[in-house]
C-alpha cells in the first residue's frame, strides 16, 4: 500500500496550507461568501426534503395530522364566510314598517312620508292608507263579512320604508328607534330581528372557530415537535459525530428546522386540497338550495390567496414546532 503521502510536495505542507486557506477565506468577497452561504442553505433545504422523502409513510402521517388540523378550521371559516356573504345580501331586503296612530289624518301621514323619503338612509317609502289596507285584507283574507260587522277600521295607516342599499344594520336600527319615538308612530318594526340573531350566532361561531383553530395550531406544534424529537433521537449518532468534527449548533439545527417547514408546507398543501375537494362536494347541494330561493348563489372557495395562507401558516407552524423540539433536545446531545 503506497498512498502518495510520502511525497514531500510543498503543497502538502499543512501549516502553510492552513495559512493560505485562511488568507483565501479572508479575501473572497462578500458576494462569494453570501452565495456560499446561500448554497449551503439551499443544499440543506433539498437535503432535508430528501430525508422526508426517504420515509414517505412517516412523513405523510405527520403531514396528515397537520393537514387535518388546518383543513378543519379553514373549511369552517370558508363556509361561514359564504354564509355571511349570503346573509349580507338578505340584509338589504330588510324593511321597516311604521304603524301610524289611528287618529292621524291622511294628509298628515303623507307629509310624514315625504319627510322620511328625504332621509339619506331611505330609498323609498310606500304609504298604505288604512282604507286601502282594509280593502286588500277583505279581498285576500276571506274575512269580508266579519270585517263588515265592525264599525271602525281596525287597521292603521302603514308606511313601508325601504332602506337604501348598503346602509348598515346599525344605522337602520337607529332609524327605527328615532322614527319609533315620534308622536305620529304607534309602532315601528324592523323585519330583521331574525337576521340579527343570525349575525349574532355567526359571530359566536366565528369565535368558536378561532378557538378551535388556536387549539389545533397548538396540536400542530406538538405533532411537528414530536416528529422532530424522534428524528433527533434517531440521528443521535450523526449529531454526536457532527459536533465532534466541529459542527456548530446552528449547523446541526438547520436540517431539522427545514424539516419542520417541509412538514408544515406539505400539511398546508394537503389541507388546501382537502378543503377544495370538500367545497366541490357541497357545491351541488348548495346550488339546489339557492335555486329554491331563486338566488343562484355561487359558492366561494379558498381562492389562491387563502390557499397560500394555508401553506404559509403550515410552514410557520412547522418551523415553530421544530424550533421548540430542537431547542430542547439538541442541547442535550453532546459527545461523551
Amino acid at each position: 500500500m503506497t498512498p502518495r503521502g510520502a511525497r514531500p510536495a510543498p503543497d502538502r505542507q499543512p501549516r502553510s496550507e492552513a495559512v493560505s486557506v485562511q488568507a483565501r477565506n479572508h479575501t473572497i468577497g462578500l458576494g462569494n461568501r453570501l452565495s456560499a452561504w446561500l448554497l449551503g442553505h439551499l443544499h440543506t433545504i433539498v437535503f432535508s426534503l430528501g430525508r422526508l422523502a426517504r420515509a414517505p409513510l412517516a412523513t405523510l402521517m405527520t403531514a396528515g395530522v397537520i393537514a387535518i388540523s388546518l383543513a378543519l378550521p379553514a373549511g369552517l371559516y370558508v363556509l361561514l364566510d359564504n354564509l355571511r356573504t349570503v346573509s349580507g345580501q338578505w340584509e338589504q331586503a330588510a324593511q321597516v314598517s311604521l304603524f301610524l296612530r289611528q287618529d292621524l289624518r291622511l294628509e298628515q301621514a303623507q307629509a310624514f312620508a315625504d319627510e322620511i323619503r328625504s332621509l339619506p338612509e331611505v330609498d323609498a317609502v310606500t304609504l298604505i292608507p288604512a282604507d286601502q289596507a282594509l280593502e286588500e285584507f277583505r279581498r285576500t283574507s276571506g274575512f269580508g263579512d266579519a270585517l263588515n260587522a265592525l264599525n271602525e277600521n281596525p287597521l292603521p295607516t302603514v308606511l313601508s320604508i325601504q332602506p337604501r342599499v348598503g346602509v348598515g344594520a346599525a344605522r337602520i336600527k337607529l332609524l327605527v328607534e328615532t322614527l319609533g319615538s315620534r308622536d305620529a308612530v304607534e309602532l315601528a318594526q324592523l323585519d330583521m330581528e331574525w337576521l340579527e340573531r343570525l349575525f349574532a350566532m355567526m359571530d359566536i361561531v366565528l369565535h368558536a372557530i378561532a378557538i378551535i383553530a388556536v387549539l389545533l395550531g397548538l396540536g400542530v406544534l406538538l405533532a411537528v415537535g414530536n416528529t422532530i424529537r424522534l428524528d433527533i433521537e434517531n440521528r443521535r449518532d450523526e449529531i454526536v459525530v457532527s459536533k465532534l468534527i466541529g459542527a456548530t449548533n446552528a449547523f446541526i439545527r438547520r436540517p431539522f428546522l427545514y424539516g419542520g417547514i417541509w412538514y408544515g408546507l406539505l400539511g398546508g398543501l394537503v389541507a388546501w386540497i382537502v378543503v377544495s375537494i370538500g367545497m366541490g362536494v357541497i357545491d351541488d347541494p348548495v346550488q339546489q338550495l339557492t335555486h329554491l330561493y331563486q338566488s343562484g348563489y355561487q359558492l366561494r372557495g379558498l381562492g389562491f390567496g387563502g390557499g397560500m395562507s394555508l401553506l404559509l401558516l403550515g410552514g410557520a407552524l412547522g418551523w415553530c414546532g421544530a424550533w421548540l423540539a430542537v431547542g430542547r433536545h439538541l442541547r442535550a446531545i453532546e459527545p461523551t
Binding site: 500500500m1 502518495r4 499543512p14 452561504w37 448554497l39 449551503g40 449518532d237 456548530t248
Partner: protein, 226 residues
C-alpha cells in the same frame, strides 16, 4: 503542539481518571499513549477534544489555552483537530464520499473544493474507488481508513486517534500506523492511544505511559520536524 500542565480529571462519581498529568508534545511530533484499560487514555484525548473539561490544570493546543474556549468557539476549535475513533464513527446511511466530506461541509467549503479534497484524502488511504459505496459494504480495515480520511480531510494541525487499530488484525494495524506516519511527515502533530505494545515497539516513536491516571514521568517529547 500539545501541552498539559498538572492536569487532573475527576469524574463526578469516581476517583481521579488523570492525576496531575504534565507533558509537552512538540509541533509536528508523533507519540503513542499507552496504559492498561482504565488508565485514562480516552480521558486524556477527550480533554483535548473539549469533550471533557479538566478538574485542575491547564491544557494548551497550538498556543491556545483550552479553558478560554467556550460556547460556539468549541465547534470552531474542533475543526483544527482530526479525530479517529475506535468504532470509526461513520454515518451508515451516507456514502463514503459524503462521510469524508462532512468536516468540509460543516466548515462551509465550496462544492468544487470539497470534491477535490475528498478525492485527495480517499486517494491517500487507497479507497478512491469506493467513494460511492456505503460504509457497511466495506471491511473493518477499510471503514477505519474512511474514518482516517475524514479526520485528515480538513488538514488538521493535531490528529488524535483512540485505539484506531482495536478491531484490526496486525497487518491492517501496521497499515493504519503507516498512514499516521505519513501525515506526521507532512507536519501534523499526532497522538495515538493504544495498548498494542507490539505495534508500538515496532515503530520509532515515543510513548506516554499512563498508570492509574498518572504519567510514568513528566515528559518532554521532541518535535519530529527538528
Amino acid at each position: 503542539m500539545i501541552r498539559f500542565q498538572s492536569v487532573t480529571k475527576r469524574y463526578p462519581d469516581n476517583a481521579e481518571a488523570l492525576s496531575s498529568v504534565s507533558f509537552r508534545l512538540g509541533e509536528g511530533a508523533m507519540a503513542f499513549l499507552t496504559g492498561h484499560s482504565g488508565a485514562g487514555k480516552s480521558t486524556l484525548l477527550k480533554l483535548i477534544a473539549l469533550i471533557e473539561r479538566p478538574t485542575q490544570g491547564e491544557i494548551e493546543i497550538d498556543g491556545l489555552n483550552l479553558a478560554g474556549i467556550r460556547g460556539r468557539h468549541i465547534a470552531h476549535f474542533r475543526r483544527r483537530l482530526g479525530i479517529v475513533f475506535q468504532n470509526h464513527g461513520l454515518l451508515m446511511d451516507r456514502t463514503v464520499f459524503d462521510n469524508v466530506a462532512l468536516p468540509l461541509v460543516i466548515a462551509g467549503f465550496r462544492h468544487q473544493d470539497i470534491a477535490k479534497r475528498v478525492h485527495a484524502a480517499l486517494d491517500m488511504v487507497g479507497l478512491l474507488r469506493h467513494e460511492k459505496k456505503l460504509p457497511v459494504t466495506l471491511s473493518a480495515g477499510e471503514q477505519q481508513r474512511v474514518g482516517i480520511a475524514r479526520a485528515v480531510v480538513n488538514k488538521p494541525t493535531v490528529l488524535l486517534a483512540d485505539e484506531p487499530t482495536g478491531n484490526l488484525d496486525p497487518e491492517l494495524s501496521r497499515e493504519v500506523m503507516h498512514l499516521f506516519e505519513q501525515f506526521n511527515q507532512v507536519g501534523v502533530t499526532i497522538l495515538v492511544a493504544t495498548h498494542d505494545i507490539d505495534l508500538i515497539r515496532s515503530l520509532d516513536h515515543p510513548a506516554l505511559r499512563l498508570d492509574h491516571g498518572k504519567l510514568s514521568l513528566d515528559t518532554e517529547l521532541g518535535s519530529a520536524a527538528e
